[in-house]
Amino acid sequence: MDTMEKLRILSDAAKYDAACTSSGAQKSAGRGGIGSAEAVGICHSFAGDGRCISLLKVLQTNACVYDCAYCVNRRSNDTRRASFAPRELAELTIAFYRRNYIEGLFLSSGVSGTPDAATETMIETLRILREEYRFSGYIHAKAIPGADAALVRRLGMLADRLSVNIELPSGASLQRLAPDKTKAAILGPMGLIQGGIHESRDLVRFRHAPRFAPAGQSTQMIVGATNESDRQILTLTSALYTRYQLKRVFYSAYIPVNEARALPPVGTPPPLWREHRLYQADWLLRFYGFSSEELFDKTEGRLHPYLDPKCHWALRHKEIFPLEVNRAPYELLLRVPGVGVKSAWRITRARRAAALTWDALAKIGVVTKRARHFLVANGKRYYAAPAAKEDLLLDLMSPRERALYRQETAPVRQLSLFEEEIPTLSPVERKELSCLAAPM
């Protein structure tokens, strides 16, 4: 099989992994070497689905002894199998890298023999890159559950980022859909990686000590294959950030690739809106000082379908708004819809020079369309007075959210007499929507 055919098979098999970031490491090539990394990460292209292409994302092999129901590469699937020889893949990576196609390599693997053997092949690929080509570009490697601790260590010394995919957000789902993997088999290496990162942080006092996965650890969860709620997913996420110090948790809207009784049928559209809401909530956890509990009301299990979770939170905490933008502390500014991390920081800096007006806020980058409902500048509300109560909800939505809301709730509103005969929102959703239209 030629390289072209292998690349097609092994990138096709790897593409359902959401992570493609090259961020978190900053370094440049030494003389005689090749490869640098920028802390912000660099996207080299964007695929037709709008996702960033930063790394050459491939599997070492797609042959696998496991039979996970959600996975394209499971043993019982009748797909073509291929494997890269370590040297072949290293050469391809360097040829792509020189031409500036990619920022580095994202290497994962099916388990063709034992987890140890699969890990050893990956290690050999990375060794050739690091030692023979003296490649210091970005490498993200997947740790394989069940591999020996010493091998995971070695992999971590060669890679910038290591990850283990949780895939399914609960032990029960895992048992049902990935009978060969257990929660312990996944969390085990995760703890191991975290330990490695910690140890090597202590070592960096010696400037040239090799570092273990300097760009940290990430994971991925599949959303919509099983019935965990948003609340369960975000509680788990939050624990991963605090307990395992993960850098990123990725969410992947499930696209049915296999027919299985326990899974949505092939052809079910991926729950992209839900994935989007989870990412919005994830950002609130990492950069805005929110806790996962704050994002939900007592009874809710899911995030608001039509509203950004930050807007939703603000609407439920009308007692603290409107805030005076010239006096509010940074932590509260961060909680204002329409104010981001950068604009909150710019506000605190700019207001030292002169009191801020709405004009200044717009120039700073505040989204006045949303922020006007929650801020006053120098005692003044935004010149366009807040919309009528029931329009407030609509006003806080983006055009796309508004279209979705109108499309999905129109029958409920127009035909409320025949409620039981038509598809409607669940009682919880309807309660949510009605309480949103309440006066602020």
Binding site: S45, G50, L92, A253
Partner: protein, 270 residues
């Protein structure tokens, strides 16, 4: 205007400055504006077509005048203002010289705190223009596609801003052992690099040679990877266009096709 007694009123000062297009030349325009107590209505470069409505004043570049103005900016406003101005000069902001002049006249009045005036029009316009330029430079770090031409990595780009100077350090750190040529066809300049030095030089034209067999092979591999990696049920054209604007596409391997080898041989007359 009325609050500035040192400046003639707008009607009297309805004139155009023409300078040589260099940063020093611009500084001399600033010098002229102060010594003649006037604010021009336009500042144009050497190649701009002459407007017949206004008088055109030729501003010759005087090193000493330029140096005086250059010293005054970090001293009387701030080093950050100096930085902003030098960056802004490389942007594609329309009438940037005029905006920069207005920026300086206010900057001298307010001093170091001027840069933090969040609602000032000139501060905002220059800051935004620089932000956009640095963003374009960041995008180019990813979107540039090199071809290996006899061991030299070559490419053509067509950015809106003069972003070449911001790419030198990046590629020197990335591939220090390579020789590189990045030709900017909009600004007729090129970034050239060889171990371990780089320069931005004027260049009228550059045309890459047709790809050899190995180059074709890797281009084909990359195109195949690009097409395969898309998750088709998630196709999102609008998202792609926002993140990867169409104006970059014609320089990128994944959106272009190689002519069959025999066509190229005919095309080059070989």
């Amino acid at each position: 205007m009325s609050r500035r007694p040192d400046v003639k009123n707008a009607a009297d000062a309805a004139l155009t400055y023409r300078y040589d297009g260099s940063f020093e030349g611009f500084l001399c325009c600033v010098f002229e504006s102060y010594t003649s107590h006037e604010i021009p209505t336009a500042i144009i470069g050497p190649d701009a077509p002459e407007g017949s409505l206004f008088d055109v004043k030729e501003i010759s570049t005087d090193e000493e005048h330029a140096a005086r103005v250059a010293r005054s900016i970090p001293a009387r406003i701030s080093p950050a203002a100096d930085d902003l101005l030098r960056h802004a000069f490389l942007t594609c902001l329309p009438e940037k010289e005029l905006v920069m002049l207005r920026f300086l006249r206010q900057g001298y009045r307010y001093g170091a705190r001027f840069l933090s005036f969040a609602s000032n029009e000139e501060v905002w316009r220059l800051t935004e223009a620089v932000k956009k330029m640095l963003h374009e430079a960041h995008l180019l770090k990813g979107f540039i596609r090199f071809s290996d031409q006899g061991g030299v990595l070559v490419t053509t780009i067509g950015p809106k801003n003069f972003a070449l100077p911001f790419l030198a350090r990046h590629f020197a750190a990335r591939v220090p052992e390579e020789r590189i040529l990045i030709y900017d066809e909009n600004h007729h300049a090129a970034l050239v690099y060889r171990p371990y030095e780089s320069a931005v030089i004027p260049m009228d034209d550059f045309r890459a040679a047709p790809p050899d067999e190995e180059e074709r092979k890797f281009r084909a591999l990359w195109r195949s990877f690009y097409d395969t990696i898309e998750i088709v049920p998630r196709h999102n054209e609008k998202c792609r266009m926002t993140l990867l604007p169409k104006r970059y596409w014609r320089y990128m391997t994944e959106f272009t096709k190689d002519a069959p080898p025999e066509m190229e041989r005919i095309g080059t007359g070989a």
